[in-house]
Symmetry: C2
Subunit: 162 residues, 2 copies
Amino acid sequence: MRLTTKGRYAVTAMLDLALHCDEGPVSLADISARQGISLSYLEQLFARLRYFKLVKSVRGPGGGYRLMGSTTDISIAQVVDAVSESLDATRCEGKGNCHEGEVCLTHHLWEDLSAQIHQFLSDITLADLVARNDIQSVRKRQDLRVVSSHNDETHIAISEIL
Amino acid sequence: MRLTTKGRYAVTAMLDLALHCDEGPVSLADISARQGISLSYLEQLFARLRYFKLVKSVRGPGGGYRLMGSTTDISIAQVVDAVSESLDATRCEGKGNCHEGEVCLTHHLWEDLSAQIHQFLSDITLADLVARNDIQSVRKRQDLRVVSSHNDETHIAISEIL
DNA sequence: GCCAATTCCGAGTATTTTACTCAAGTATTC
DNA sequence: GAATACTTGAGTAAAATACTCGGAATTGGC
């Protein structure tokens, strides 16, 4: 599990895709313009997202990308994993050259820690983010003087989602 | 919040330090030998750890590094933050050049997500890892036929820690 | 059938980060 | 004063990041 700006770009792009998925296929040019990510870079990211079957492409004019499946099925961890390959960063990969098991101890420890973060991000889906996004939109509109008094089911505690 | 191999190296080194902190100052040469991390690289990492007041140095023969404070006071997040500077990876840093707030939405969203991971790692201290490490050590020794029957208070459920 | 939009694909590249080497200097203990 | 170990700084090779560019393939609309 690696957490870099690359994964951040991918999550942002996927979220943009999720926000506009009901308007037909979304072109990378649109995402590029909206999110300020280079088109060619998006192409590379989506090549991996496609390879991992998180999105499907529609070629030709009016084409673009669609989510493969529902937003409730795609987790943040999947997106991050798709674009950033996992690496080991240890010399001892089960080769048994650790003195007294110490190296392996910290090694496994970090792996477990990494797995925990992975699990954490696996529990958050695009749908969760979209829902939360809606809340922020509502909030923004409320800040702009429009006070609506109906957010009963859309009012989900943020702390419950994230 | 960035999660790369650099932070992993730092956590491993700090954990090694925590494991041997009761034997006086720990030299980087020892950590280097035990954990297989280059001495010069450790020097760079510990320069930052020192700057962030996570460790203190003891110069001269028999010197090395000590933890600044107790293992219960140092979280994984602190260690990771110390060695990896945070970056933004967005063009709009509050400059207001986001159309209709969309960019800022995903932007803030990711920041909150990152903050959640940060909080997650803030809740895990070196002491937690040492305790967990002891458990594994005990297990290893048990595998080696030495069965000790005293782990009453050191026996903390792993799932409770991580 | 042609054209334009769009995905696809590969090569190349500048910048940054990573992980490390080397060398000199400083403080401390024995 | 010599050995130990931190401290500092310069430099560097490899990898990852974040693109650019050029072109090819696909397809909807005219």
